[in-house]
């Protein structure tokens, strides 16, 4: 993957850095406290993949919308979904973003434009396309970003959705997070050897393959795709290569499970999207030790307060369990 120098302005770079770091620190905090057994739902952590979430979501307006998967914390936070509501949801508390009904795999923040993060592989893809179709019908200039993992490329529903999005030139940006894995099964066991972008291209969708650990590159590509979509130019597909660091589901690192050696893990961890931008910012004189300390302290405070809030938030009342079955 070629490393690139971008022309993105300083504020944007700092923002990307901050957004990534925030995701990282949240995931680390979740991992750290998961053993307390108070977050009683499955969690799919995304550390290592923050570059994509931060870069892609920063290209969107607040009124734009995203849909995502089981591994959605990063997307939700990058789109500025409420941290407190997310943690409350994971803790199963009433102020959770869906009132504790969904857990980590059903995040939503309506105001921030986080529409639906759903755990069945591929299930949110046509929903996102349908939202874009509604926008087109009603003449709104909303863009919909659809996050998906590499495994989604194997599900028929992706193709059906891509065909429709292309046919109707819908304002959709597909962001494929290719971490090479589905559970612990690598790509070559699941797909023939070819660029996954070929699939999207075959549907006449604008494509770009990029280094997902380069947040600035993702931001730039996403900005282009979003502009195209907003102008009625139709869908794009960004294939962002990355790696996840932790186990598929849960707080441990993959090497702790024997899925790779510690050495392999350390090697892949050297390509850290946060550290990479950190170094770039320092080199450009935009960040120094003090600045980083201040930022970490600020984020740390926000995060511990949010945990504090979540841990003390009330549980939803049992008698509400049957509400909202019908509208």
């Amino acid at each position: 993957m070629e490393k690139r120098v971008t022309q993105i302005d300083d504020q944007t770079l700092l923002r990307l850095h901050r957004d990534m770091l925030r995701i990282r620190l949240v995931e680390e905090a979740i991992a750290e406290r998961y053993g307390e057994q108070e977050m009683r739902c499955p969690v799919h952590l995304s550390d290592g993949q923050e570059g994509i979430a931060a870069g892609a979501c920063l290209a969107l307006r607040k009124t734009d919308k995203i849909v995502s998967t089981h591994r959605s914390h990063g997307h939700y936070l990058a789109k500025q979904g409420s941290l407190k509501a997310m943690l409350c949801e994971i803790y199963g508390r009433a102020p959770g973003c869906v009132g504790g009904r969904g857990g980590s795999m059903h995040l939503l923040d309506d105001e921030a434009g986080v529409l639906a993060c759903l755990p069945i592989v591929g299930t949110s893809v046509p929903l996102g396309v349908g939202v874009a179709y509604a926008a087109k019908r009603t003449g709104e200039d909303t863009v919909v970003m659809v996050f998906l993992g590499d495994a989604v490329m194997e599900e028929g529903v992706f193709h059906e959705s891509a065909n429709f999005a292309a046919l109707h030139s819908l304002p959709v940006v597909f962001v494929c997070e290719n971490n090479n894995l589905s559970f612990y099964t690598s790509l070559e066991v699941r797909q023939p050897d070819r660029p996954m972008t070929d699939i999207a291209k075959a549907h006449t969708i604008t494509i770009k393959e990029l280094d997902g650990n380069d947040a600035a590159a993702v931001f730039e590509a996403a900005s282009g795709a979003v502009t195209q979509a907003r102008k009625g130019g139709g869908p794009s597909f960004l294939m962002c290569n990355t790696r996840r660091w932790r186990e598929h589901c849960g707080p441990r690192y993959d090497y702790e499970l024997g899925q790779m050696t510690e050495r392999e893990f350390e090697a892949l961890r050297t390509d850290c999207p946060v550290a990479r931008l950190d170094a770039q910012l320092r080199k450009a004189g935009l960040l120094d030790d003090v600045g980083e300390e201040t930022l970490r302290a600020e984020l740390g405070r926000e995060i511990s307060q949010a945990f504090e809030f979540a841990c003390n938030a009330p549980f939803p009342e049992l008698k509400t369990a049957g509400d909202h079955v019908y509208a």
């Binding site: 869906v98 009132g99 009904r101 969904g102 059903h106 939503l108 309506d110 529409l115 639906a116 759903l118 069945i120 299930t123 893809v125 046509p126 929903l127 996102g128 396309v129 349908g130 939202v131 874009a132 179709y133 509604a134 926008a135 019908r137 009603t138 028929g156 529903v157 059906e160 959705s161 065909n163 429709f164 046919l167 509400d323 909202h324 079955v325 019908y326 509208a327």
Partner: protein
């Protein structure tokens, strides 16, 4: 008072679409082949000319994404009426229907709604065979969050479809191919028939027959034949399979003491079972004789007409069943059967009975 005309179920459904589309610009029809000369079994005639291709949206042949797209659009306030020529096609979309349509309101803690209507058609006759004649209402009806309706009378084909389109929850509207042919009185203009539960279509005192869809028409004709031989059957049209309101059925059984169900699906784990079970729970003491269920024989649908006479429950089977339950004389039943046979005439078994028509 609006004018009332005699229309068949297909024409009635068409009027429902027309009224709904005219009243609310967010309503649109989507599906495969919804506006060619077949006009979706005569339920979409003229809608393309009137509303154009944006509101008569021809879709790729991709039922799973189509359903997800409909749900996504509905979450944004659109009101898609997805229409598929056979219920089997929607088997490809059950993940979307069961996981998203049924649950989006619940799982977003009430924030989003999925006001979609999914019209699916149950095939029967003319050798449809194993893949084109299934009647799968009970599997949809198992899911909290869905509404599942089966209109039988033409009046309901229109009024319930309008109600479904105006409903904020997802509604699966299961239209039996043969109700498209049966005529009945249908009011002009906009009206709704509430999705609130069953209707007593004919009063009676000896037995309660609970029927769905086309079986309602058969039950009504049968009840008439039974009446002539002195057996008084109350016929209840179930209409709404979910949310299920069996109040009127329980009330009826309390009166008649006898229950027989007849529906268009397989019996085992089917609609009749739920009715019988609920009645057994709620008014066991009222039951004078064991309840009975009529439905499809427990095998796939064969194509050849020579293989189906025992597959679909016939009016004759219903007569025998009721006869046994009320302890009727063989002679009585013979007469009722003869009456039904005359009703049907020479018509082969694989086409709908044109005499099953209103006014009911």
């Amino acid at each position: 008072m609006p004018e009332i005309r005699s229309l068949n179920g297909a024409e009635a459904a068409r009027m429902a679409l027309f009224e709904s589309m005219e009243r609310n610009p967010d309503v649109f029809v989507m599906g495969e082949g919804i506006a060619d000369h077949g006009n979706f079994f005569g339920t979409t005639n003229g809608l393309m000319e009137k509303f154009g291709p944006e509101r008569m949206l021809e879709m790729p042949v991709a039922e799973n994404a189509m359903t997800g797209i409909a749900i996504g659009a509905a979450m944004m306030g659109q009101r898609p009426v997805m229409s598929l020529q056979r219920v089997e096609f929607v088997l490809l979309a059950l993940e979307q229907i069961f996981d998203n349509a049924a649950k989006i309101h619940y799982a977003t803690n009430g924030r989003y709604r999925a006001p979609i209507v999914i019209r699916v058609v149950v095939g029967r006759g003319w050798g449809q065979g194993p893949h084109h004649a299934q009647s799968l209402e009970s599997i949809f009806a198992h899911f909290p969050g869905l509404k599942v309706i089966m209109p039988a009378l033409a009046r309901d084909s229109k009024g319930m479809l309008i109600a479904a389109i105006e409903d904020d929850s997802p509604v699966i509207c299961i239209e039996h191919r043969w109700i498209h042919f049966a005529k009945g009185p249908v009011p002009e203009g906009h009206y709704v028939e509430l999705l609130d539960g069953p209707r007593v279509r004919r009063e009676g005192s000896d037995v309660t027959i609970v029927a769905t869809s086309y079986a309602v028409l058969e039950a009504l004709a049968t009840a008439e034949a039974l009446e002539k031989v002195g057996i008084s059957a109350e016929v209840i049209d179930l209409r709404v399979l979910r949310p299920l309101n069996l109040g009127p059925v329980i009330k009826s059984v309390a009166k008649t003491g006898r229950l027989v169900t007849i529906d268009t699906g397989w019996t085992t784990y089917g609609v009749g079972g739920e009715i019988v079970a609920t009645v057994a729970q709620e008014c066991l003491g009222d039951l004078k004789v064991p309840p009975r269920r009529l439905g499809l024989a427990d095998h796939p649908t064969p194509s050849s007409r020579s293989l189906t006479p025992d597959y679909y429950p016939t009016p004759e089977a219903l007569i025998d069943c009721v006869g046994e339950m009320v302890g009727a004389q063989a002679k009585q039943l013979e007469a009722a059967r003869a009456d039904m046979a005359e009703h049907r005439g020479d018509l082969p078994l694989d086409v709908p009975n044109p005499t099953f028509q209103g006014p009911f």
